[in-house]
Amino acid sequence: MTVAAHSQQVAGAPATSGRRVAGALLHDRAAVLSSAFLALIVLMAICAPLISAITGHGPNDFDTAAVNTDLGGVPHGSLGGIGAEHPLGVEPQNGRDILARIAYGARVSLLIALAATALTTLLGVVLGMLAGFYQGWADQVICRVMDFLMAFPALIFMIAILSSLPQGNRSVLLVVVISVFGWPYLARVVRGQTMTLANREFVEAARASGASTGALVFKEILPNLRSSLIVMTTLAVPGYVGTEAGLSFLGVGVAPPTPSWGQMIASSVGWYAVDPMYFAIPGTFLFLTVLSLTVLGDRLRAAFDSGEAA
């Protein structure tokens, strides 16, 4: 009998859900391409100082030789100053290197989006599980707060708060403000799933056998939320990349001279007719990053879903 059980385990070897999902993603061309692009962006963000060292242009170094001061500062050359000296061209007027600014901007965008996702997830999971597990008055209070936050015109309010806050550490403020308005969307799902899970037999069995509340929450319920959490957080990152860029675009994000993609696009608005590359390059990077993250999240969900159905 032990032999039978053993051989069954080897033969049937139900791949762990993590491995199965990874396998499914590896066979998906769109998912692989997205991951590759994201890896490139992350690498570029990490190596930003190295890129600057190689090209010899920092993100805030002016290069007046690259722009035509007689024509109001339009970059020399046809495609916004793209050439051997500046691989992605230069900004009009001051001639800052766009590649360096994109690389340093990626740091800001990704860091803020990831930090906001982490904080949102923490708030969403803790409060959602509190509401779903204890129900009663805790649930009532948390649900009312969620209703309230979701009724808020979040974008207008984020801009209003950020513009009235003193100029402190903008990045931290951005993360906090984005998370405060973002957690209810995650918490709502977590709450619903926790409620269902809390009444399932295996949780009751654990409770009956004397498991502490902590053990119930961390060993029984949380592991079962994992797949939906992975999907929701992956899909939240592109949203926050977009929000950060949007807020920076509107002038309430990271303060110049710190480069950010949204801010670069904002400063290109006045130049779009004469120097289209100036908005096209940061715009393309932003678009492809958001798209890759969305595709990856989408495929992750499909992979998890097909596993549940099987």
């Binding site: 009724a151 808020f152 708060i161 908005f279 798209l291």
Partner: protein, 331 residues
């Protein structure tokens, strides 16, 4: 039903009150002193005191807050004696920048916002639902894959990037459209349409892509339901089963999401209006925030919250009409 409505109305009032309080607290505690800002460069301490007195800024927080609330419902007076200014019933105060009545500013700009919002909504509902339906019916074909790929891509373009790209291609390069302006319909329908076409496209793209994906998913789910199998086995043609049996359950969730998205459009159109320089409520919000014009920011925040909250109630009420499986029970 009456009890349900009363309960919802109370909820609406409570949330709006909280939004108001929250916004007020933020500005009261965080913002630089408005009196100093209004006073400008040639300023004397006496002048600052006078401004504080007229606007009631020297009063304690609660007095200011309830003064603001009272102004909305009953109107309020600013200053005293010869300087007395009466602000009639829906009083949202006066802009610190232009001294204009905030209510009048909102009323003046609302038509532009409404034009942008309604036009975009028509466009995205039509495109999204048609593309989604076609994709669902032709599930797995090249059309389905192309449309859904496009929808995924389209929902990833930030609308300000799309706005700049469209402007560059259509206005600068091809010169087929004029630069967007808030042209009135009476100035000529053709010009009006051309001027608003780009803002509509920009605002509608993201939503249309989202709605196409939602419609497709809903229709595919509905087609797999038992009642659809029954309808098919009765021998109804595919077109008839689709029209009579599938559309309503598949599109009901879309209707509720549409209600909420449309209600949130006052905030959602902010970037579109700003990029194209259309003088709607969204642009007014962006401008007022840039100049720290608190009464205007308060008004726009409150107005946007009002639309969202009312939108939620309307959606819930309409939902019971659209989906007979849902009935309102007073809690």
């Amino acid at each position: 039903m009456a009890r349900y409505l009363a309960g919802r109305a109370a909820g609406v009032v409570l949330i709006l009150f909280l939004v108001c309080l929250f916004t007020f607290v933020i500005f009261f505690t965080l913002s630089p002193d408005p009196a100093v800002m209004i006073c400008g460069k040639t300023c004397t301490p006496e002048r600052i005191d006078q401004i504080r007195d007229v606007l009631g800024l020297d009063e304690p927080f609660l007095a200011q807050f309830f003064g603001f609330l009272a102004g909305i419902f009953a109107g309020r007076d600013y200053g005293a004696g010869a300087n007395l200014v009466h602000c009639a019933a829906p009083c949202l105060g006066y802009s610190f920048q232009t001294n204009q009545s905030v209510w009048d500013m909102v009323v003046e700009r609302l038509p532009v916002s409404a034009t942008v919002a309604v036009g975009a909504a028509v466009l995205w509902l039509f495109l999204g639902i048609v593309a989604g339906l076609l994709s669902a019916v032709k599930e797995g074909t090249w059309w389905d894959r192309a449309a859904m790929g496009l929808a995924l891509g389209g929902s990833s373009v930030p609308n300000y990037v799309l706005a700049l790209a469209l402007q560059y291609v259509l206005v600068v390069q091809l010169q087929v459209l004029p630069f967007p302006q808030a042209v009135a319909f009476s100035d000529g329908p053709a010009l009006w349409f051309q001027s608003y076409l780009m803002p509509w496209l920009v605002l509608a793209t993201g939503y249309a892509c989202l709605y196409a994906r939602l419609t497709r998913a809903n229709v595919i789910d509905t087609l797999a339901e038992n009642f659809m199998r029954t309808a098919r086995s009765k021998g109804l043609s595919p077109a008839l089963t689709m029209r009579r049996h599938a559309l309503r359950p598949a599109l009901t969730p879309i209707a509720t999401i549409f209600g909420m998205d449309f209600a949130a459009l006052l905030g959602g159109a902010l970037i579109t209006e700003t990029v194209f320089g259309l003088n709607g409520v969204g642009k007014m919000a962006a401008d007022s925030i840039a100049k720290n014009d608190q009464p205007v920011i308060m008004a726009v925040t409150l107005l946007a919250a009002f639309f969202v909250v009312i939108g939620n109630v309307v959606v819930d009420l309409v939902y019971t009409r659209l989906d007979p499986r849902v009935r309102i029970t007073a809690r």
